[in-house]
Every structure is written in structure tokens, then in C-alpha cells.
């Protein structure tokens, strides 16, 4: 599998950076509506994975992974993962024809209503109306459409419709708000079977989250290296001290590995060669690497890295929450063991 970036991907990256670099101050409510609009309207990356028949770009998840990487680097508060990756994947697998065009033309922010971490709760369906509670849903804050798995099917639910309550949560990651959803006899339209759709969406999400984590780790490494080059203590740049050098070299090694792993995962979910294994590997590796890069970023910045004013903490919070979301590294190692026939102790 080709693990390099293609020329198209490199030029997409350039366009994204031009756009995202200019939007540094995150909005208070954790959603940058203007960037979200531009990503859809100008760059057309929100509908990147939507098939061309439905007005999308018909690209693969590999390109979407590149977008995730840049959104991670700039910590841009937009619901790309939930809408453009997970919802689109779920809709495609469930056989949707109605919602996908609305994502492609930018008219709907669609959220997959699953917890960002932990097991799927029960939502009951009686006479086409849904009732249940789904906690800690990401990328659903101001969504127009909720995709709710219930009773074996995936339902389209109007987020502003009757019976839907969204309660914002105080998220640890202030740049990715969570909400608790309560459905009380909310009308839903069935789209198709849920289990495979949700499974594929979560697998694609986990695989591409690795690219976001790569972007986060790269920002942390780059920012720390730049600080170490210029911050003077004891009459010389702190980056000239060997202990600092070696720690940053170690971070570079693991970020370099994350790049190979994230590219591999993006490729594997794109061509469906071994999506589960690749996603589990990616989350087992790239999550902890991002956490460590962010921790070193805070530590090597010293006092300033511990302040609210410096953005390091935003990356730290993003890194830690993504290492828990869609399964911890330990959970993914367990899944890998199963896929590799590496039986744990006590099993037959």
C-alpha cells in the first residue's frame, strides 16, 4: 500500500493551510461556522467522500484523512469527523440517497448520534417515534440532522424537531463540544439497517482520528522545537541542551511512525482491505503518541505551557480526549489480539 501523500493531497493540504492558518482564535462556543461554510463551499471537502451521484467529490477516505490531519494541526472547531467522515460512511453503508446530497451541497450538518466513547445505548422505536438517551455525542452541537441507531435500523431525526433535547456538556476538550441527546417520542425516518452502518462509521472514524492525532502531534512537536530554538535560559537556547534534544528526537521518532501508521489506516479503510485491524492499530499507536507529544509540549514550555493563554493546553486536551474516544489504546490492543489470534490468558 502506498503510504506517501499524493500530489493532489499535497495541494489540498496547501489550500487547507491557507484557509485554516488565518482562523487562529477558537470561537467561544466550540464551532467555527464560517470555516465550516468555507470547507464546504470553497474547498468542497465536506462532501469529499460523498459519491459523485449525490453531488459529492467521490474521493476516498484517504483524502478525508488528509483533511483530518490539517484540522488536527490547527484544532479547527468544525464537525468534520462526525459529519463528513462518520455520518457519510454510515449513510453510504445504510444505503441512503436523501441525506447525502444535503451534506454534499452544504445544506445539512449531519451527526451520527453515538457516544464519542463507550457502548451504544438502547433507543426504542414505537410507531416510528424514538425514545432514549445518548450521552457525550461529539460534533452534534448545532447539527441539523441526527442519525440515530434504534431497533436495528438507522433513523433520520430532525435535530430541531419535536422530542429532541440537546444538553451541552462541559467538555474536557473545549474545541470539540459534546452534547447529551434526549429523545422523547421523536419522529424518525428509517434509512436502512444500522449495525453494519454504525460499525463501518466507527471504524472509519477511528482510522481517520489517527490522522487528526498525527496533526495534533505534529503541531506539538513543531511548536516545541520552535520554542526550544528561541527560548534562552542560561545564556543559550534551551534546545541546545542535550536532554531536551533527545526527548524531542524521541517525539520525532514516534510522530514519524504515526505518520506511516495513519497513512496505512487511511488506506486500509479506503480500499476496505483490513479496516478493523488498521483502525485498531492506528488507535493503539497514534493516540498515545499525540498525548505524549502534547505532554512534552506543555512540559518543555515550562510555566508558559501551563497557562490558559498558551494554546498548548488545547492540544493536550484534544490529544487526551481522542485517546479515549472511539476506544482507548488498551481496548484497541485487545481487539488487535483477537484479530491476530493472539489469545489472552485464560482463554481456550
Amino acid at each position: 500500500m502506498n503510504l506517501l501523500y499524493s500530489q493532489d493531497e499535497e495541494s489540498l493540504r496547501d489550500s487547507l493551510r491557507d484557509l485554516l492558518r488565518s482562523r487562529t482564535a477558537p470561537p467561544d462556543d466550540g464551532f467555527d461556522a464560517e470555516v465550516w461554510r468555507l470547507l464546504g463551499a470553497e474547498l468542497g471537502v465536506v462532501g469529499l467522500v460523498v459519491p459523485e451521484t449525490f453531488g459529492g467529490a467521490g474521493a476516498s477516505l484517504r483524502e478525508a484523512a488528509l483533511v483530518m490531519e490539517e484540522l488536527g494541526r490547527f484544532l479547527t472547531p468544525v464537525p468534520y469527523l462526525g459529519c463528513a467522515v462518520m455520518a457519510v460512511t454510515a449513510l453510504r453503508v445504510a444505503g441512503d440517497t436523501e441525506v447525502l446530497p444535503r451534506i454534499a451541497d452544504g445544506s445539512a450538518w449531519v451527526a451520527l448520534a453515538v457516544p464519542f466513547a463507550g457502548a451504544l445505548p438502547d433507543v426504542t422505536v414505537v410507531d416510528g417515534v424514538l425514545t432514549g438517551r445518548i450521552e457525550s455525542v461529539a460534533d452534534a452541537l448545532a447539527a441539523d440532522v441526527l442519525l440515530v441507531p434504534a431497533g436495528g435500523d438507522l433513523y433520520e431525526v430532525a435535530a430541531a424537531g419535536p422530542g429532541v433535547t440537546r444538553t451541552p456538556v462541559v467538555s474536557l476538550d473545549v474545541t470539540r463540544p459534546l452534547v447529551d441527546l434526549t429523545l422523547t417520542a421523536a419522529p424518525g425516518r428509517p434509512i436502512g439497517p444500522a449495525p453494519e452502518a454504525v460499525d463501518a462509521a466507527v471504524t472509519a472514524g477511528a482510522a481517520l482520528l489517527a490522522s487528526e492525532q498525527l496533526g495534533v502531534a505534529e503541531w506539538c512537536l513543531d511548536t516545541t522545537v520552535e520554542y526550544a530554538r528561541t527560548r534562552l535560559q542560561f545564556g543559550r537556547p534551551i534546545g541546545s541542551f542535550q536532554a531536551i534534544k533527545h526527548r524531542l528526537a524521541d517525539v520525532w521518532v514516534s510522530v514519524t511512525q504515526s505518520r506511516a501508521v495513519a497513512r496505512y489506516a487511511a488506506g486500509a479503510v479506503s480500499d476496505a482491505s483490513e479496516p478493523r485491524l488498521a483502525a485498531a492499530l492506528a488507535q493503539a499507536h497514534c493516540g498515545p503518541v499525540a498525548v505524549r507529544a502534547a505532554e512534552e509540549c506543555v512540559q518543555l514550555h515550562g510555566g508558559i505551557g501551563f497557562t490558559w493563554e498558551h494554546p498548548a493546553h488545547l492540544y493536550l486536551k484534544r490529544a487526551k480526549t481522542t485517546s479515549i474516544a472511539l476506544g482507548t489504546a488498551a481496548a484497541h490492543r485487545r481487539e488487535l489480539a483477537g484479530l491476530l489470534d493472539l489469545t489472552p490468558a485464560g482463554s481456550p
Binding site: 457516544p115 464519542f116 466513547a117 463507550g118 450521552e135 457525550s136 456538556v169 462541559v170 467538555s171 474536557l172 476538550d173 473545549v174 459534546l178 534562552l232 535560559q233 542560561f234 545564556g235 543559550r236 541542551f241 536532554a243 531536551i244 498525548v291 505532554e295 506543555v298 512540559q299 515550562g302 510555566g303 508558559i304 505551557g305 501551563f306 497557562t307 490558559w308 493563554e309 498548548a312 493546553h313 493536550l316 486536551k317 487526551k320 480526549t321 485517546s323 479515549i324 474516544a325 482507548t328 488498551a330 481496548a331 490492543r333 485487545r334 489472552p344 490468558a345
Partner: protein, 385 residues
């Protein structure tokens, strides 16, 4: 020989009831810190005998050790060692009773690990000094009456030689205290802007140009005090984690179990190291083990709180409150898991970074040679900044 127990009992029998008056009387009776000289709250007896006093006076009014921590741990020993008689008499009593709080004006935005590189200037002005500069990481500055302050009196000397140590009047004009918000969302510390602050010369502690030597007394005492108190086995952060494990069977996985047990072992090893360090201290043989305790605590605090968030899963994604508040005390056990995890990131930065601590261990404990230095012999003014 002074019978400390006898004195403490006698004092208790006739001590005033009002808490403030009680503390003042206790100071005057020499029962505040028995190893301090008579007349300054002590009896000039060995430090170990304090335990007898504390035992005899258990249940009587006392001050919050966290509230007076900086004064007690850092300002007091420095004033005792380097202050004039008048300074000792002026400052030590209200410091100990808690009537006057203290803070520390050492760190600056450009001088963290490299404290001796600080830029705050002190310029002679008649019978006093004019101070201008910016200090950071000052806890309690918004409540403090006094501060210990390190400032540069001669920029033409090498960095360590041009410093002078002052007591700063926090009520003086030109002292501007602003909250410094941390990644926990609250402001536990402050930035302090000093603009042409006038300090009379009798607030100078030690000779002009001797500030670094005076500051070493302060810093040595900071390191001693940071080791923290004795915890029971399984106490502190590891206790929080194991309690969560015991009460939440649904979060238990085999990988997390082994990781938790690794942390338990590491925490118990660190705890026993602290116990042994205190035994050495009590035996009159203080060793460098305190540094080992601080380094280990910082790493443990970060690992334990990190694992707790992972165990909590979705709950680990949720914080309690980001509104800007004043936080005056670190509370690892009483607050939310996300607060714990975030606040723990400071443990390897505050009070000497783990990097500086490793330097100190390597050079002072292990005797490894210093790195080539380029900053200690040239005038401070000429250093790259």
C-alpha cells in the same frame, strides 16, 4: 536542659482562648517553632522536639499550614538567617500567627529555570530603592502583605553577582497583582507588575549584591518542604484510583489492572522513600532523597490521573467547570478527575522543573561534571536574552 513538654503543658493551662491571641501567646512562649531562637518564637532546642509541643497542644487553635506555607517554608528561614534583628522582630511573629501572609517574587517570564538571569531592576533612590519589573507564578500575591523579592542591582556584574534580596511591601504604590489563569481554567497564581515601587533600605535582606546567596537559603528550604507530608499506604492519588477501581467493577480490564498495579508499586516505593528520608532527617542526617520524592511524585501524579481518565471512558471526556475562578489550594483528591489530571501537569514544572532537579541530582548528588557554561562570567547586560 529545657523541658519542652513541661513548658507546653504549662502554657496550655493558662493560654488565652481567642485564636489570634492564643497564637501570639504561643509564639511569645517560644512554642511556635522550638528550634528558632528564644524571643523569636522558639526555645533554641532541636527541631525534633517540636513534635512534643504539637502533641501537647493538639486541638488548640492553629493556622492553616497551606495559607502560611510560603511564609513558613521560605520567608521565615531566610529572614532568620539573613535578616537584621529588627527585621526578625518585625516579620516573624505575624508571619507565624498568619496575621500577615507572604508571597514570593522570584520567577519572571524570561527567568524560570534560569532564575539568576532575572531582569527586574532595583535602583538606589535616596534612602531606599525603586523596583521595576515583572514577576510570575506568584501564589497568594493577591492576599499577601509582604513578599520576598529578588532584583538586579548591578547589570554590569555577572548574573549571580548583581542581585539583591528585598522584602517587598505588597501595599506599596506601583504593585499591580493580576490573576494568571492556568490550563485548569482557574487562577491559582498571579503575575505581579512592579512599576517604580519604592522600598526603604531597611527592607533589604542581606548585603547589596548578595541576593543570590540569600536566595539559596530560600530555595533550599522550598525543596525540603515540597516533599510533602507522610501519607498512609495506599493514600493520596493512588488511593483515589484504587477506590474507583474497587467501586466500579465495570471498568476493570486486565491491561488496566496491571498498569494500576505498576502504579501502586511505584507509589508505595515513592512513599517508603519519603518515610526513609524523614527518618534520616530525624536522625540528623538529611540526604538528597527529597529530590527523589519530588521527581517521583510528579511522574506518578501524571500517570495515575491519566489512567483514571482512561478508566472513566466517556466520563473522562467531561469536565466540571471552565469558568475563571480564584483557586488558592491544590486539591488532588477532592476535585474532579479532569481537574486532577490537568493540575498534575504542573507538578513537574512548579518548584523547580523535573529537568532542573535532574541536573541538580546529577551534579550535586552524583558528582557528574557541569556542562560548559557561557553565562556565568560575562556581565549580565551582555547576555543574549
Amino acid at each position: 536542659m529545657t523541658d519542652v513538654r513541661e513548658l507546653a503543658r504549662a502554657f496550655r493551662a493558662s493560654a488565652p482562648a481567642d485564636p489570634d491571641e492564643f497564637l501570639r501567646a504561643r509564639f511569645d512562649a517560644g512554642l511556635a517553632w522550638v528550634h528558632y531562637p528564644a524571643g523569636l518564637g522558639g526555645l533554641g532546642v532541636p527541631r525534633e522536639q517540636q513534635a512534643i509541643v504539637d502533641e501537647e497542644l493538639a486541638g488548640t487553635p492553629s493556622n492553616d499550614p497551606r495559607r502560611i506555607g510560603i511564609g513558613l517554608g521560605m520567608a521565615a528561614p531566610t529572614i532568620l538567617r539573613h535578616g537584621t534583628d529588627a527585621q526578625r522582630r518585625r516579620f516573624l511573629r505575624p508571619l507565624w500567627t498568619g496575621e500577615e501572609l507572604w508571597c514570593q517574587l522570584f520567577s519572571e517570564p524570561g527567568a524560570g529555570s534560569d532564575l539568576a538571569g532575572l531582569a527586574t531592576r532595583a535602583v538606589r533612590d535616596g534612602d531606599g530603592w525603586r523596583i521595576t519589573g515583572q514577576k510570575v507564578w506568584t501564589s497568594m500575591a493577591h492576599r499577601a502583605r509582604w513578599a520576598i523579592l529578588l532584583a538586579r542591582t548591578d547589570p554590569d556584574l555577572p548574573k549571580h553577582q548583581g542581585l539583591t534580596y528585598f522584602v517587598c511591601d505588597m501595599t506599596a504604590p506601583g504593585v499591580d497583582v493580576r490573576p494568571l489563569r492556568q490550563l485548569t481554567g482557574e487562577a491559582e497564581f498571579n503575575e505581579v507588575f512592579l512599576t517604580d515601587v519604592f522600598l526603604p533600605d531597611d527592607l533589604r535582606l542581606g548585603a547589596v549584591g548578595e541576593g543570590w546567596a540569600v536566595a539559596r537559603t530560600t530555595l533550599m528550604n522550598e525543596r525540603v518542604s515540597i516533599g510533602g507530608g507522610a501519607l498512609p499506604r495506599g493514600g493520596g492519588l493512588i488511593g483515589v484510583l484504587t477506590a474507583f477501581w474497587r467501586s466500579h467493577p465495570e471498568v476493570r480490564t486486565s491491561a488496566a489492572h496491571d498498569e494500576m498495579m505498576r502504579l501502586w508499586v511505584a507509589a508505595e516505593a515513592a512513599r517508603l522513600t519519603g518515610v526513609r528520608a524523614r527518618q534520616q532527617l530525624a536522625a540528623g542526617d538529611p540526604g538528597p532523597e527529597g529530590s527523589a520524592v519530588k521527581l517521583a511524585f510528579a511522574e506518578l501524579a501524571q500517570r495515575i490521573t491519566g489512567l483514571e481518565l482512561e478508566l472513566r471512558g466517556a466520563d473522562g471526556l467531561r469536565h466540571d467547570d471552565w469558568t475563571m475562578r480564584r483557586g488558592e489550594a491544590v486539591d488532588f483528591e477532592g476535585r474532579s478527575p479532569t481537574y486532577r489530571w490537568l493540575r498534575a501537569k504542573g507538578t513537574s514544572i512548579e518548584g523547580g522543573t523535573s529537568e532542573i532537579l535532574r541536573n541538580i541530582i546529577a551534579e550535586r548528588v552524583l558528582g557528574l561534571p557541569a556542562e560548559p557554561r557561557t553565562d556565568t562570567t560575562v556581565p549580565w547586560r551582555e547576555l543574549p536574552r
